[in-house]
Every structure is written in structure tokens, then in C-alpha cells.
């Protein structure tokens, strides 16, 4: 049964993993905001900011973001415009209202002087009770664990699982995905716990739960522990110890190495790239139980992809990084930033070519993937040469669809397990295994 299904799936290319890829592609079109790996990227693009704002639940009546957007054009006007609007929304006594108006004015001023145009929600300017509301908790925890990013990490891990040259094992796949997801939630929560004052000062991250006081630091740490411990335990006991060890190592690397290093040295980008490369390796080891060359290749592809992705993005955030005290290549070594991005775009071409040599894919993969790899390398070259906002944006947005497409192509070009010489032997083996699976 399992064997037949495997045959079918290899032929048609439709498996849960494939679907995951498709979903991922679809979600990328809509949500380009937080992406793909354990790395915490300070993403600010106006477009994305608006999307994320819309995604948040708003308890306030319709406040007309347009109203506020217009205000941002002229600094002085903003202050006057907000004052008449705010009393409508204030149920507070007189004294606090006056204070509120002052806060609102100062908020408007700081808003107006900000470089990014954004629609700040009205509720942001009110005083809020610091009490945990249970009905808000799921949303808060989702934002604390960066759930969208976690979902993308899990899909990279499942890509690694799918590419492993073993018959597809659904329970193992689910356990590995769940474990990876929990580990990612834990890591992201700890990251936010460490970065509260810095997040407050960066445009994109200032609406995080800890910054807004929606949840206490203690609860954040408890949540991280209650995700991380079961997650790693699940990986170690339910999948295999190697995957568990990789998961634990990745959490450590992200929270204790990458997060502090962001403020100390530009080497953080390389550490972060490793963090992003580990999930597919975890997926692979979950399937095979060992660290093969194929796993490292997949990790290498993701490692190389991080650089054009992040370097292009960070190009537009130099002001926020500089003010926030983050040591990023785009600020301190702009030439290096662009060189590295280009270098790794070209490395992607090389790595794709190595794939058939390691029996991960057939020889069709380097050929089919060449157009997209060449395109991203071309954009990388343009970024290298022009070093301006438009080329960095082009490269960034390209990286967003490039990776899912590359992984998709890789999967469809995957070297089938059946193409090995001992076909019959394998058939018997898998069939045996399938029978074993049936038994409870």
C-alpha cells in the first residue's frame, strides 16, 4: 500500500510536502513580511508594514488610517488634527485626558518625524491596563512566537524531509514538523524577550507583544520553555536524537549567539545564515537518521540563499540599524555587503550543479533551475553595481519567490528511490515496512 502510494506520488509529484510548497508559494505572495528562518530580520518596507497592520485585530472603531496618513505630510498639521479626534475616543477623566492629548501630540510628532509612512493604530495612543486577557492570549502568543516565520521554518524542514532518499513516513514527518515548529516558537520568544528596548525603537518591531506590555517577560519565558522542552523532547524521542540535538543547537545558536552578536559584530549575519540552514538538515536527518552529503547540500543552499535575501533587505534599513546600535554589514561595510550577496547568488548556481553528483536530484535539476538562479545572480550583480534602493528591493523580492521555486523544482527533480540498481530488493523492503506500518 505504502509502496504503491509512494510510486504514485513520485510520478505525480503530489505529496503533503508538495502541497506545503504550494501553500508556501501562495502565502509568499500575500505575506512577504516575516520570512523563512530563525533569523530575526528587521524588516521595514512600507508595503509589508501596512499588510501586517491590517492583519492585527482592531478593537477600536474605524479610525480612518487615511486621515493619519495625510497628517504625516505636514508635521504641524498633524498635531492639530489629532487633538480634536482623540477626545471622541477617551472615556478617561479630565486629567488623564489632558495627559493623553499631550502623549498623542508627542506621539504625532514622533510619528511625523519618522521616515516610514505608516498607519499607526489608534489604540496605540491610549493607556492600557497591563492585565492578561485570556481571549487575546492566542493572538499574543502567535505574535510572540512569530507564527508565520515558524510556519516557513517548518516548511523548510519538511522540504528537507521530502528530499531525503527514503520512502515517505507520515508519522515521522508530522512529529519532525511539530517538533521543529515548537523549537522555532521557543527560539523566537526568547529572542523577543531579549530585545524589548531595541524592538521599541525600530519601526517594524515596535508592535510586538512584550514591547506593548500585553504579556509579562515571565510569561514569555515560561511559554518559550513550554514550547522548547516538549519540542526538543519530541524530536529526540519521537524522531531521533540527532534531529533533537540539531534542534537544541539551533535554539542555542539563535538565542545565545545570533541575538547578542547582532549588536557586537557583523559576523552575526553568517551565524544567522547557519541558523537558517539547519532546519532542512533537521528534516533530512529526521527522515534518514544520519547526516548525509545531501543534507549538507540542502543546508548549503539555504545558507547561501540567506545572503542575497538579508543583505538586500538590510540595505533599506540602514538608518534604523544605525540608530538602534545593530552591527550590520549594510551599515559598516557596504561594499562587503554587496559583494557577499553576489557571491552567494553565484554559489547557488554551483550548489544546484552539485546536486545530481550527490544523488539528491537528477541531472535535470541544474538545467531547469539555471534560469531562476541566473536571474537572481543578475539581480545580485545589479545590486552590486548600482547599490541603490531599487536594486536592493528587486533582489529582496526576487529572493522571496526564488527559494520556494528552487525547492519545488528540486523536489520534482528528486532522484527517485526506485532508480537504484537493487530495485526489486527495495520493493520487497518497502513493502515489508509498509506492512509493519499497518500493524498498530
Amino acid at each position: 500500500g505504502l509502496f504503491v502510494w509512494r510510486l504514485k506520488s513520485a510520478g505525480t509529484g503530489h505529496t503533503p510536502c508538495h502541497l506545503v510548497h504550494l501553500c508556501r508559494v501562495a502565502s509568499h505572495r500575500l505575506i512577504t513580511f516575516q520570512y523563512f528562518n530563525f533569523l530575526k530580520r528587521m524588516y521595514v518596507t512600507q508595503y509589508n508594514k501596512d499588510l501586517s497592520q491590517r492583519a492585527k485585530p482592531k478593537s477600536d472603531p474605524v479610525v480612518s488610517p487615511f486621515h493619519e496618513l495625510q497628517q504625516l505630510d505636514q508635521e504641524k498639521k498633524a498635531i492639530h488634527k489629532i487633538s480634536p479626534v482623540s477626545p471622541v475616543h477617551q472615556p478617561w477623566p479630565e486629567t488623564s485626558r489632558r495627559k493623553e492629548l499631550r502623549e498623542v501630540e508627542s506621539a504625532a510628532e514622533s510619528e511625523a518625524s519618522a521616515t516610514a509612512v505608516r498607519a499607526e493604530p489608534k489604540e496605540d495612543r491610549q493607556w492600557k491596563e497591563m492585565k492578561l486577557r485570556l481571549d487575546e492570549l492566542p493572538g499574543i502568543l502567535a505574535r510572540l512566537s512569530k507564527i508565520k516565520l515558524t510556519a516557513l521554518v517548518v516548511s523548510t524542514a519538511s522540504a528537507g524531509f521530502a528530499m531525503a532518499p527514503v520512502p515517505f513516513d507520515l508519522p515521522c514527518f508530522l512529529l519532525a514538523s511539530l517538533g521543529t515548529g515548537l523549537a522555532s516558537c521557543a527560539a523566537n520568544s526568547i529572542n523577543q524577550f531579549f530585545e524589548v528596548p531595541f524592538d521599541s525603537n525600530m519601526n517594524r518591531t515596535k508592535n510586538r507583544p512584550l514591547v506593548r506590555g500585553q504579556i509579562s517577560p515571565l510569561l514569555a519565558v515560561c511559554f518559550a520553555a513550554s514550547c522548547g522542552v516538549p519540542g526538543i523532547a519530541l524530536l529526540t524521542l519521537g524522531v531521533n536524537p540527532l534531529t533533537g540535538a540539531l534542534g537544541a543547537f539551533n535554539i542555542f545558536l539563535y538565542t545565545c549567539c545570533y541575538t547578542p552578536m547582532k549588536r557586537m559584530s557583523i559576523a552575526n549575519t553568517w551565524v544567522g545564515a547557519v541558523v537558517g540552514a539547519i532546519p532542512p538538515v533537521m528534516g533530512w536527518t529526521a527522515a534518514t537518521g544520519s547526516l548525509d552529503a545531501g543534507a549538507l547540500l540542502l543546508g548549503g543552499i539555504l545558507y547561501s540563499w540567506q545572503f542575497p535575501h538579508f543583505n538586500a533587505l538590510s540595505w533599506g534599513l540602514r538608518e534604523d540599524y544605525s540608530r538602534g546600535g545593530y552591527c550590520m554589514m549594510s551599515v559598516t561595510h557596504p561594499g562587503l555587503c554587496r559583494r557577499v550577496a553576489l557571491r552567494h547568488c553565484l554559489a547557488l548556481i554551483g550548489l544546484s550543479a552539485v546536486a545530481p553528483a550527490l544523488d539528491v536530484t537528477t541531472w535535470t535539476f541544474p538545467i531547469v533551475s539555471l534560469p531562476i538562479n541566473l536571474y537572481i545572480s543578475y539581480l545580485g550583480f545589479r545590486f552590486y553595481r548600482d547599490a541603490d534602493r531599487s536594486s536592493s528591493r528587486k533582489l529582496f523580492f526576487c529572493s522571496l519567490w526564488h527559494l520556494p521555486m528552487l525547492l519545488l523544482v528540486m523536489f520534482t527533480c528528486k532522484k527517485s528511490v526506485l532508480e537504484k540498481d537493487d530495485k526489486n530488493e527495495l520493493r520487497g523492503e518497502s513493502h515489508g515496512r509498509a506492512v509493519e506500518m499497518r500493524l498498530p
Binding site: 478617561w92 477623566p93 488623564s96 502623549e103 498623542v104 508627542s106 506621539a107 510628532e109 514622533s110 518625524s113 496605540d124 495612543r125 491610549q126 493607556w127 492600557k128 491596563e129 497591563m130 492585565k131 524577550f193 531579549f194 524589548v196 528596548p197 521599541s200 525603537n201 515596535k206 514591547v211 506593548r212 506590555g213 509579562s216 517577560p217 515571565l218 519565558v221 547578542p260 549588536r263 557586537m264 533599506g316 540602514r318 538608518e319 540599524y321 544605525s322 540608530r323 546600535g325 552591527c327 551599515v331 559598516t332 557596504p334 547599490a387 541603490d388 534602493r389
Partner: protein, 146 residues
């Protein structure tokens, strides 16, 4: 915040530091542990506020000075004919960003160390307070049952 509230209140971001101020609730029977926690949080808030307000103000000021000096070197005024504020493009600002970051590096290192220490202390105290409260509640429950 209303007078009869029993919890802390958090406000909108401060103009200079971008941090949200918190008004702490002082319960009538505050234990020494709870007082230590509240004072630690207040101290943390004050330190953060002081650092970031000063830092952001310095940033804004130095940015203005940089823009002014660069415009002057180019022979332009701060505001052009239409009255709009003249700005430099991102490439020209890049020099300033790089400079500012390296100048403030040591300041950031010091602040990071302090922040991490304070953050851990506060969270640990929160844990202790939560535990103490839980034990107190259990004891009260037991007394009521008897």
C-alpha cells in the same frame, strides 16, 4: 489610569525614547519581595528611558548637523524654493550612519550588558513573586476548606 485599578498601566510610546512608560500599581499589603520587583522595574524603566531619550536626541541632532554640513558643501540651503526640507539621498546618509554606529559602539556594549542583567533580574524576581503568591493562595485555600 483610573484610581480604583489594581493593575499596572502601560502608555503610548514616549516621544524621545520610543519606550512605553508604565505606571506601577502599589498594592496596600505589598510584600518586601514585591516591592523589590516593583523598584527593579522602575529603575529599569528609568535607565532605559534615560539612555534612549539621550541617544535618539543625539542621533537626530547629529543627523541634522550632518545634513546641514553636506548641503552647505554642495552650496544648497536647508529648505529649497517650495519650502520643503532638503534631504540627502540614502547613499550620502550612509556615511553618517556608519560613523554614528561606530562612535556609539562602546556605549551600546555597556548598555547591552546592563540591560541583559536587569532583564534577567526582573524576570527572576517575577518568578519568585509568582511562586510566593501561588503558595499564599494555596495556603488560603487550605484554610478556607478546613
Amino acid at each position: 489610569p483610573p484610581a480604583q485599578s489594581h493593575s499596572d498601566w502601560i502608555g503610548p510610546p514616549d516621544k524621545h525614547s520610543n519606550l512605553r512608560p508604565v505606571i506601577f500599581y502599589v498594592p496596600p499589603e505589598e510584600s518586601p519581595l514585591e516591592r523589590r520587583l516593583r523598584e527593579a522595574r522602575q529603575e529599569n524603566q528609568a535607565c532605559n528611558q534615560h539612555f534612549w531619550a539621550r541617544h535618539n536626541r543625539a542621533f537626530r541632532q547629529e543627523k541634522e548637523e550632518f545634513i546641514y554640513s553636506r548641503l552647505k558643501a554642495k552650496g544648497l540651503e536647508m529648505r529649497d524654493e517650495t519650502g520643503q526640507k532638503a534631504t540627502l539621498n540614502a547613499e550620502e546618509m550612509a556615511d553618517f550612519y556608519k560613523d554614528f554606529l561606530s562612535k556609539n559602539f562602546r556605549k551600546h556594549m555597556q548598555y547591552n550588558r546592563d540591560w541583559y542583567k536587569r532583564n534577567f533580574t526582573i524576570t527572576f524576581l517575577m518568578g519568585q513573586v509568582a511562586l510566593a503568591r501561588a503558595l499564599r493562595w494555596l495556603r488560603w485555600k487550605k484554610k478556607n476548606v478546613e
